[in-house]
Amino acid sequence: MENIQATLNRGQAVQSAKPIKMKSQDVTVHYGSKQALNGITLDIPERQVTALIGPSGCGKSTYLRCLNRMNDTIDSASVGGKITLDGEDIYDPAIDVVELRARVGMVFQKPNPFPKSIYENVAYGPKIHGLSRNKQELDEIVHTSLKKAGLYNEVKDRLDEPGTGLSGGQQQRLCIARAIAVSPEVILMDEPCSALDPIATATVEELIDELRENFTIVIVTHSMQQAARVSQITAMFHLGDLAEVGPTEKMFSNPDDKRTQDYITGRFG
C-alpha cells in the first residue's frame, strides 16, 4: 500500500509542473465480474504527450477508453472512480457524451477512414457539430486540419478521391486530421503506428510532436522506443495496476519499479 501511495504521489508531483488537463481518481473498470482496472489515479498534464505502456492485457487501452467514455459502448463494462476534464466530471449524467468525444478525440490502431472522399472524411465532424456556417468556413477547417496533420500537400489536388485509396500512413494522418477537425482538447491514440511502416511511423511521430503545441495527447504504444521518443510522461500499467509513472527520460533510463525495469528491458512480456 505504501508503495502504491508513493507511486501516486510521485506521479502527481511529476505532473504538477504543467497544468492538469485530465485527472483520474481511483478509476476501476469491470467487464462483467472481471476487474480490468484496479483503481488508477493518474494526472494527464496539458499539452504534453503521456504514453501508456505495459504488456498486453495490462489495462492501458481500457484506461484510454475511459477517458472519452468509449467503454460506455461495451454493455458489460462498468466504470468506477472519477475522471475529470478541466475539473468537470466526465461521468456526470448531465454530460453530453457526443460533445465529450468531440473534446476528447480518438485515433485508433488501424486507420479507419469513412468510405467517403478525403474532404468528406475531415468535414464530417465539423458538420455534425455545427462548427461552420457556410461552405467557405468548412473548406477552411478541412484545409487547416489536413495541414496540421501534415497531409495537405500530398492530397490537396485530390480531395474528392476516396480516403480509403490513400496509403496506410496517409490514412492514419487522415484519421488524425479528422480527429483534430472538431478542435478537440485531448487526443487519445491507441497504438496509432502499429499498422504503419517505419517511414509512415516517423511521419506520424513527427506529427505527434507538433500537435503537442496545441493538444493534450495520450498515446498507448507497444513500442518502447516510440514511447521514449514521443512522450514527456510515461505511465506503466501492469495487471490492471498503475505500476509507475514519471518523466519519460527517467522511466526509460532508470525506472524505480521492478515491473517497469523488467518490461522495458524485455524480461517479461
Partner: protein, 246 residues
Amino acid sequence: MAEHIVSSYEDELRYIVRRISEMGGQAERMVEQAVNALMRSDWGLAQSVVADDLLLDAAQREIDERAIKTIAKRQPMAIDLREIVGAIRISNDLERIGDLAKNIAKRVIAVHEHSQPMQLVRGIEHLSELALVQLKEVLDAYGTRDHKRALAVRDSDDGIDAMYTSIFRELLTYMMEDPRNITACTHLLFTAKNIERIGDHATNIAETIYYIKTGEQMEVERPKDDQTPSIAQTDVTMAPPGSMEN
C-alpha cells in the same frame, strides 16, 4: 534479475560482460608483470608484456563492435543500456591500463642501463602494489556490481596520488644530487606517473560501475592528492636534507 525473453540477447550481454572480466584479469597481470620486470630487470618478461598488449587492444575492439551491434539489434533500455555503454567505457579504460603497463615494460631496459638506488625502485614497487589493489578491487566490484565497493575504490585513490607525490619529490632530489642519475630517474618518474594513471583508470571504472548499478553519476569529483603540479624547484631545494627520504 530475471533473464531476457530472447535468450540470444541474454547470451550477447553475458558474452560482453565475460570479455570485460577477462580483459580486467589480463590488464591486472600485465601491470604486475611490467613492474616485476622492472624490479628484476627481466627483459624477456617485459617483452611478453609488450606482446600481450596487442591481445588487450584486440579485445577492446571486439567488445566495441559487439556492443554497437547489440545496441543496433536490441535497442537496449535502462539497466541493459547502462551495462553496454559501461562495457564500452570500461574496456576503453582497461585498454589504456594495458598501454601504460606496456609503457612501463618498454622502460625496463632503459632504466637498467643506468645504476639506480634500490630504494627508489622499491617506492615504485609499493606504488604499483597500491594501484594493483585498486584494480583488483574495482574488477571485483564489477563482477559483483557492488557500487558501494566501487565508491570505496574511488575514494582510496588519494593514497596512490600521495605516494606518487612523494616519489616525485624523491626523484627530483636524487637528480639534483647527481646529474648522472637524471636519465634513470626520468624513466622511473614516467613509470611512477604511468602507475598513478593506472589508479586513475581504476577510478574511472569505479565511476562507471556506480553508474551501471544506480543510473546516476557519482557525486562531484574527489579532491586530487597529486600535488606535483604545485611543486616548484624551490620547494625541493629548500627542503631540509633527508626530509624527503623515507
